[in-house]
């Protein structure tokens, strides 16, 4: 049975995120992911306050990266959270966002090695073991926490490319796939299954999460209006291979990218086509969203994450999801 998660970007005032987290838990969501970018509110501060006002929902950074936050510090942070909320803490990790990393002159050095080593360090430390890494990116010698936590923290890898998806299948407790369309999910699942086979494990042991751009409203036009800006940014940041998979000309994506970089929002958002919305979001009325989610579940998605913008009014959209979408997926 598919589980539902929610993604928040902590651009909002901390108490608004916390309000929505309480609402999400009550509405039947089982997971909460908060993004980690240095220009927003700190992810662990945000999660700490969420942990204080919720009782069941599982949560974690979705996702942090090992370049700006050393794996030993990430391990310390999630372990500290796990002391506050035992059994509810997760750790999502990926290679980070090139744009924000470049602002602090940081490169995604040896991404596969960095993630492999970081996962090893975080898993060892949160399991109460000494972390030792003589890796290509991280050298760690005998790091151990001065406190222990009740249970290890499940680690989810944020992945898009074939090799990172394969690595996620090898190392992860779960994988967060940044995609909304069945074509992209199907392609990712192929790499995940291959990776799991190579690692000698079953892909069924992984929690496969579709991390979608989501917008729901009874009026499909209002759902669409809310999601268009997010889709514009996704199109602008997508590699040509992904654009071509959906029949989107890279030249149009370049035009949107250029408009965004010059803050010409009307041009950028006005260039978003229905095909782009279809390719890069799950958007529409509750019934339409149920149909689109069902397609992803049939492919093998085990966690559906409703990401930004969620809808034109976040509070009402969470209510709509809880009352009109989730019940369709409960046994």
């Amino acid at each position: 049975m598919v589980k539902f998660g929610l993604e928040f970007v902590p651009r909002e005032l901390y108490w608004r995120t916390t309000y929505y987290a309480i609402q999400a838990e009550r509405s039947g969501f089982e997971y909460l992911w908060i993004t980690d970018h240095f220009n927003n509110r700190n992810v662990y501060v945000s999660l700490s306050i969420v942990s204080a006002y919720t009782d069941r929902i599982k949560f974690g950074p979705g996702v942090t990266n090992p370049y700006l936050c050393h794996p030993v510090v990430t391990a310390q942070a999630v372990a500290s959270l796990a002391e506050i909320a035992p059994g509810r803490v997760l750790c999502g990790i990926g290679v980070g966002d090139k744009t924000t990393l470049s602002m602090v002159n940081t490169e995604q050095v040896k991404p596969l090695a960095a993630i492999r080593e970081a996962v090893g360090v975080i898993r060892a430390i949160t399991s109460g073991k000494d972390a030792v890494s003589e890796g290509e990116v991280f050298k760690v010698s005998g790091v151990r926490l001065n406190f222990s936590i009740a249970s290890p923290v499940p680690i989810y890898l944020g992945a898009q490319g074939p090799r990172m998806l394969s690595l996620a299948a090898e190392l992860g407790d779960g994988v967060l796939i940044n995609a909304s369309h069945p074509k992209d999910i199907e392609s990712a699942l192929g790499f995940i299954k291959d990776g799991a086979t190579k690692a000698g494990r079953s892909a069924d042991s992984l929690d496969v999460a579709a991390y979608t751009s989501f917008s729901v409203h009874e009026d499909p036009k209002r759902a669409l209006k809310a999601v268009v800006p997010v889709v514009a940014f996704i199109v602008a940041g997508s590699p040509d291979v992904v654009l071509q998979r959906h029949g989107i000309q890279p030249e149009i994506a370049a035009k949107i990218r250029d408009a965004i970089s010059h803050e010409k929002w009307g041009d950028a958002f006005g260039s978003v086509t229905p095909d782009m919305v279809e390719a890069f979001s799950v958007c529409g009325t509750p019934d339409e969203c149920v149909e689109k989610i069902s397609r992803l579940v049939k492919l093998g998605v085990t966690q559906f994450v409703t990401g930004s913008p969620i809808g034109p009014n976040v509070r009402r959209s969470i209510n709509t999801i809880g009352t009109k979408i989730l019940p369709n997926f409960k046994g």
């Binding site: 108490w15 608004r16 309000y19 009550r26 006002y53 009014n313 509070r315 009402r316």
Partner: protein
């Protein structure tokens, strides 16, 4: 005047709607950053217990709504049928919070 005096003017059958409308106002107000942490934590505590549509919950929501946008808060009260003189008294409610 205490916020509770205004809440007593709202029919109990409209508490749920009033709580939702005031909550939407607070969640969307650009001046949300002006809310004092004590008031915010009180609202979250009450919300966690699903008690915003109660006398205590509505009092805290009214206090918050007055801080973020007194005019819109008054309009919401007027729309749900609270008498004009009570709506006007929203501006006079005592705030137990340092704003």
């Amino acid at each position: 005047m205490e916020a509770t005096s205004i809440v007593k003017e709202i029919p109990a059958s409209l508490w749920e709607t009033t709580a939702e409308r005031l909550t939407d106002l607070i969640l969307s107000a650009p001046s949300g950053f002006r809310l004092p942490p004590g008031l915010v934590h009180s609202i979250l505590y009450i919300w966690q217990r699903d008690q915003l549509a109660t006398e205590t919950g509505l009092c805290r929501l009214l206090e918050a709504a007055k801080i973020v946008d007194a005019e819109k808060a008054g309009a919401i009260l007027a729309e749900i049928g609270v008498q004009a003189h009570t709506v006007a008294s929203l501006r006079e409610i005592k705030m137990p919070w340092k704003v």
